[in-house]
Symmetry: C2
Subunit: 203 residues, 2 copies
Amino acid sequence: MTTTSGSAPRTRLAPAQRREQLLDLGIRLLAHRSLEELSIDLLAEEAGISRGLLYHYFGSKQAFHEAVVRHAADDLIAQTTPPTGGAPMVRLLASVTAYVDYVVANHEGYVSLVKAAAGGNESLRAIYEEARSALNDRVFREDAQGEIIADTPASRLVVRGWSAMCEELVLSWIDDPRGVTREQLLEIIAASLPAVVEVIPAG
Amino acid sequence: MTTTSGSAPRTRLAPAQRREQLLDLGIRLLAHRSLEELSIDLLAEEAGISRGLLYHYFGSKQAFHEAVVRHAADDLIAQTTPPTGGAPMVRLLASVTAYVDYVVANHEGYVSLVKAAAGGNESLRAIYEEARSALNDRVFREDAQGEIIADTPASRLVVRGWSAMCEELVLSWIDDPRGVTREQLLEIIAASLPAVVEVIPAG
């Protein structure tokens, strides 16, 4: 029983497109909300559709959260894709800039994901770890010639450590940016990767 | 109604000493157990005293966990105190070595603390943050002449990032130590501090 409102006629979307659109809305809502605050009720209200239909699309609140977080992780990976050309450090800085911008723009949701993943929500943790691995693997794939980093067990470990440092740096900086400009933060994050790789002792 | 066993007579301890002894036992139990697994029942059994007496000492399970974690944090801070003499890097390496040894020896409890703190247990998070701040502050106190690090907002931020990296490095290395020796890990952790400080751009 569709009601016809006064405005433009509602476009009929294929279920997959409709689901995609709902996930995009979920991500927008997460920018300034934690996962716990992102309920099916809220999404239903914002999307102007029934809770029943949302359960039809997502099954459960947990499955809905997983779908939104997976979508957000895909967005993060896509948005931080470095440009195809240029020197390795230029591409790294572009990627790091996109990462910082993403975390700033999606702060609440990002923090709540880190919290859920670290706190023992196993399926969210799996999605978080997968995204992190994809970002870390990219460092090696983008630098296949080893211009910055040779691919060894020690450098794999160091890149994991570096990415934990990046997360801490950006989240701490958002909490208290006094005395450090965005440009300084970006330079610290980008330049610290070759710096920590440099300290790996010869095997 | 004290029962006299065949062995040495039980020493009567002052309440403060007794509490201390129970906390030490709690920490030993945490070495190979998570916080969730550390119950009042288990402690009572291991200490050979009644649950009632434990509730008398600690009040509640949450208060007991807080007392144990605070005690563990004090231990970590004490054990990682650098030697008084020697060059800054030698003292840093000694401190880092003690940190890695502590996390290796108390792995289960440490991981569960990180999890509880990150997952939103506010009082455990406060203890964890306090301990981390004490360790980070020490970097600046130990190096008051700024031989390694000048005390600026950017270097404070970088030391926070470095300590998150250290935690990730040691926990990842414990999960999968293949290809990286303990000595390499220690050198990476110690040498990465001046390396990341070095990349801070001039203000």
